[in-house]
Every structure is written in C-alpha cells, then in structure tokens.
C-alpha cells in the first residue's frame, strides 16, 4: 500500500513536474505558495485532471500512465478527497452525504445509512446526522467531509486545504482532531496546505512545491531549520540568503554583498540561514566580535509573541527579533537608521 507517482501536467504557461513517493501510514504535506501547483497535483492524483506524462501507481495498480494509454477515471480510483470548502452536497443531510460514496458503490440505502451513522459517530457527530450542510458549523462540516471521504475505505486520502475554510478560533481544535483522525486511517495520506503550522502538526514529511517543482522535502524540523526557498524561510521566520561560497567561509550573496560564516563550505552555490534572534541591531557601527556588520533602515516593526520583529531594509535585508524594551531604548521606529550585526558562528551554510 504505497503511492509512487511521477506527475507531469502541462497547462497554459505552467508545467507541474513532481516525483512523489509516500508510504502507507505516512502523512505527507504538500506546501508552497499560491500557484505552486499544489491543487493541480492533488487533482491529478484524484483523476480529476489527466497527466500529460508520467505515471501514478497506487498499491501496484497503475492509475494513470499516458505512455501506455492507461487512465482510470476518478470514480474507479480508491481515492478519497476532502475538498477545500468541504463541498458537502447541499441537498443531502450529513448522513446521506457520508452515505453517498457507499451508495454509488452499490450498497443498499439502509446499509449505507447505518454505516454512515457509524462514521458520524467516529467523528463525534452522531447528533448532527439529520442536519443539512448549511446548518453545520465549519468544524462540523469539515468532519462530515472527512467521514464522507473515508467511508468508502479508500487507500489514498487527499486533503485540499482542509483547514482553510475555518476561522482562527476553531482552527486549532479542528487541526488537533484532524491529526487524530488521520492517524487512524491506515492508507496513504496527503495534505495540501499553504499553512506551515498545518503541515508541521499534521505531517510526518513535508514536500515544498515551488513553480511546479519540488523545491525541498524533509521532516518539518529539517525544512524550517534549513529552508531552500524564500517562501518557506519567511513562513518559518528565518533569514534566508542565496549565494556562492568561496574560501575562508565567505559567501558572496546575489545582491553583491558578502557574509562571513564560521563554517567552511565547499565552493559553489549555497544557502545561508540566520535566525532573527541571532541578528543584533545597533544605533552606531558596532565594534564587537561580530564579523558581519552592515547599515540599514527600519521598514516595519511587528509583534511576534512577546518579542518584536524588526524588518530592516538593507543589503541584504534582514529580520531581527528584539525585545520591546530594546525597541523603546533604541527608538526603533520606521525610518530609523541602524547597523545590523551577525556573528559568523550564527550563520548556517548549506549546499543549494
């Protein structure tokens, strides 16, 4: 029971080309900015969009392979989908929504409804079985959608932005429940999301898509510690610099400036990551041990938990994390001139 896919879909002005392997019982999160191809990938796996090239194999069964003319339509794939906005059928109550996939597979009405009730019990919605979708809260609709997708016992479960339609207050609760329900599903689980928190909580492994390609894969911890795209870096709140490593720990950045890191990297293209906590700000040119110092101007100050994050326009631009007291003492308001300092030991350099 595993998914092995090479998905290539050519659209007007966009090509999705992704290789993916997911083991049963594993939850993989597909993350990336809007337009990265996340939903296209999901639709291709579900059979709602045919491949241009490549191959999708689930449990040894080929679902789509243009080269051999193989294409199973969505209704013949053992795939369950939880859609963005849930897409419950508005003319059916919760029970009949869940029973839908059982009925289409030839089960009788009575048996399908009984089984649907069991599923609703499993997601804690026994008392909402007769409710129409518009009478359900966002979190309840999400659980009905999950029960509906799981009821026909698929081997691959796809979730498209399962938490995007929820407001912030219910989100944490629903996310936790979803994580619980996902772990009880034995098949292959794939979650598309643009929210790194969802990915980190729900997934064992993250696949970062960027412009139709895999930019990075790894555990949530690996991805946030060593991001390979600016998008991930910004979401995980670290400073990411792309450049070329040369001797002596020097990294020539794309903007023309140079960073000095303590670690020697092999010459060639690298990423350098600096955590905002490791960036210090000064009113005058610092004369300490920091090997890297450059001037800039404060562009914005944002709250971040009990700290503040200061965006500084400079070459390269950085985000620094400071205390509220420091902001007050130094007068770090928008437009203030500052010096930025980063110790060489705080710069993590790795191959691009």
């Amino acid at each position: 029971m595993s998914l092995v896919a090479h998905v290539r879909v050519d659209l007007a002005g966009f090509t999705l080309d992704v290789e993916l392997e997911v083991a049963p019982g594993e939850t993989v999160a597909i993350v990336g900015p809007n337009g990265a191809g996340k939903t296209t990938l999901l639709r291709a796996l579900a059979g709602l969009r045919a491949l241009t090239a490549g191959r999708i194999e689930l449990d040894g069964v080929v679902l789509d392979e243009p080269a051999t003319g193989t294409y199973l339509p969505p209704e013949r794939r053992p795939v369950g989908v939880v859609f963005q906005d849930h897409l419950l059928f508005p003319h059916l109550d919760a029970r009949d929504n869940v029973a839908f996939g059982l009925r289409t597979r030839g089960q009788g009405r009575v048996g399908a409804r009984r089984q649907a009730d069991e599923w609703l019990g499993r997601v804690g919605l026994t008392d909402r079985a007769s409710a129409r979708p518009r009478e359900l809260s966002g979190g309840q609709a999400q659980r009905v959608a999950l029960a509906r997708a799981l009821a026909p016992s698929p081997t691959l479960l796809l979730l498209d932005e399962p938490l995007a339609a929820l407001d912030a207050t219910t989100r944490n609760e629903v996310r936790r429940q979803l994580r619980h329900h996902l772990t009880t599903f034995p098949g292959v689980r794939l979650v598309v999301t643009h929210d790194p928190v969802d990915a980190a909580v729900l997934a064992d492994r993250i696949v970062v898509l960027d412009a139709g390609r895999v930019a990075q894969t790894g555990t949530p911890a690996e991805i946030t510690a060593r991001p390979r795209t600016r998008w991930v870096a910004e979401l995980s709140g670290v400073n990411l610099f792309a450049g070329d490593a040369s001797t002596g720990g020097r990294v020539a950045l794309e903007g023309g400036s140079t960073l000095i890191a303590a670690d020697q990297a092999d010459p060639g293209p690298v990423f350098a990551v600096v955590h905002p906590r490791a960036v210090s700000l000064h009113r005058t040119r610092p004369e300490g041990s920091a090997r890297n110092a450059w001037p800039g101007r404060v562009r914005a100050v944002e709250s971040f938990g009990d700290r503040l994050r200061v965006r500084v326009e400079a070459n390269p631009p950085v985000v620094a994390e400071v205390t509220a007291a420091a902001v007050a003492d130094m007068g770090l308001v928008e437009g203030a001139d500052v010096w930025i300092a980063v110790k060489a030991t705080e710069i993590d350099v790795y191959r691009a």
Partner: protein, 274 residues
C-alpha cells in the same frame, strides 16, 4: 452593519422622501391597465351558467385537448430541452451563440410567423414535410401538429431557465461526486439535477403555461378543428367572435385561474424582489 449600509445606499442621501407625484401617477395608470381586464372578466362572468358551459361538448373537447397537447408539449420540451440546456451550459463548441439565438427566437418571434414557418418546413409541401408525407407522417391540421406548434413556442422558456441554473451550479460538487465513485450519469442524476431542481420545476411550469396559452402558431400550423386542434385559446377566440361569448368568458376565466395558480406556485422565484 451591512444591512444598515445597504439600506442607506437604497435611500440614497439623507434627503427626506416625498412621494414624487408624476411617477406615482404613471405607475397607477400602469397597474390599472393590468388590473382592469381581470376585473372586467370577473364582472361579466356568467357564474350561474359556468358549470353548464364547462360540461358542454365543445368546451369539454377544448379543455381536454388543451390538457393533452400542453402536457405532451411540456414532456417533449423536457425530453429535448433538458439535454439542450445542459449542452449549452457545459459544452464548448463553435457556433454556440448562433444556437442560443436560434433557441431563443421563438420567445420574441410573433407566434403567427412561427406558425407560417412551421407550415413551410413541415407542411405537406414543406422542406421536410414533403419527405414526411411520403412515409405517411402528416403534421399540419392534426393534434400532433398542435403539439409541435406548442413545443416550438414553449420550449425556450424551459431551456433558458435551466441553462442559467446549470451555469450557476457549483461544478466542484460534481468533482466531489466523481471522487466518491459516481459515474458521469450518476453525478448528473444524484447531484446536478437535484441542485437545479427549483429551476427545473419553475422552467417546466412556465413552459407548460406558455404551451397552454399558445394561439398564433397553433391556429396557423394546426388549424382550428374541434376535438383535434381547437385548443382552449382557439375556442375562446371563436366563441367570442361568434354566437357564444358566454363560453368564451367562462373559459377565459379558467385560463386566468391557471395562470394565477402558476404565479402563486412560483411566488418564491418571481414575486419576491431580491
């Protein structure tokens, strides 16, 4: 907040409303134009002999025939119009706009012209009628002809209503149904059709009401033969012109009652301002 803002937008600025005399006068005249004929019908109705009229042979024939032909026309419209509406809403093909114009034409065409056109196409010497005649099919001046005329005039009401509904329904729900194991036809039957059900009912009733009231195309193409092609509107016209205006009035009332029933039945769609 939003409600207040909308109300404010409707009221415009804060200038106090005064009833503007001229538009109100014109509107009153317009309403009178609609209401007066109804009042006239009710006023002149021979209530005492109404039952007698309805039970008379020619009136009964017209009533029965009208029911048969209008229901048959509605059935054909559903059978052909439903797929047509679906194709127009969902399938892209060259010449689609021409097809739309063609299928809307009967709504704006004078029905008499429609009747003439039908005669030239399906009449004994018509474009296709010649061939039909050869295999023994004869439409003009038959009940089947009356049904064809009514279908021609009434089907667009169903098609346009349904096409808009198909267009407006969320196609992602159909995707969801596919992933739940429904084949395309099952998706149509179990998701698409229930979603457009209100429009389907409205379109069908409108179509039937239009078929029931059809006059011009029917009398031109199918003639005016009692029991064969003389439907209610034709009967009313003939009786009013001739010896028996009382029957005409009684059956006019019947038609009006049906129209009102349709309107009340569809009140949620047509009588509530959005």
């Amino acid at each position: 907040m939003r409600v207040q803002a909308a109300a404010r937008r409707r009221r415009g600025t804060g200038v106090p409303d005064r009833r503007p005399a001229l538009p109100v006068l014109a509107a009153t005249l317009a309403v009178t134009l609609f209401a007066l004929p109804l009042a006239g019908l009710v006023w002149r109705a021979p209530w005492s002999s109404a039952w007698e009229v309805l039970n008379s042979d020619p009136a009964g024939d017209a009533l029965r025939l009208s029911m048969i032909t209008s229901l048959a026309a509605t059935a054909i419209s559903l059978l052909l119009g439903l797929p047509l509406a679906w194709v127009q809403a969902r399938v892209e093909y060259p010449g689609k706009r021409i097809v739309r114009a063609l299928t809307t034409l009967p709504m704006v065409l004078p029905p008499v012209v429609g009747g003439v056109a039908l005669l030239l196409a399906l009449g004994r010497r018509g474009l296709v009628g010649r061939e039909l005649d050869r295999i023994g099919v004869n439409l003009p001046f038959t009940t089947a002809g009356a049904i064809v005329a009514e279908t021609f005039v009434a089907m667009p009401f169903l098609v346009l209503t349904l096409e808009a509904a198909f267009r407006g329904s969320d196609r992602r729900l159909e995707d969801a149904a596919r992933t739940l194991g429904a084949r395309p036809f099952a998706v149509f039957r179990r998701v698409t059709l229930p979603l457009v059900a209100p429009s389907l009912v409205a379109g069908t009733v409108l179509c039937w009401a239009r078929a029931l009231g059809e006059f011009g195309a029917t009398i031109t193409f199918a003639g005016n033969l009692q029991g064969t092609t003389q439907t209610l509107p034709l009967f009313v016209y003939v009786k009013l012109e001739g010896s028996d205006p009382e029957s005409a009035i009684v059956l006019s009332l019947v038609l009006m009652a049906i129209s009102l029933a349709v309107l009340i039945g569809l009140r949620d769609r047509w009588l509530t301002a959005r």
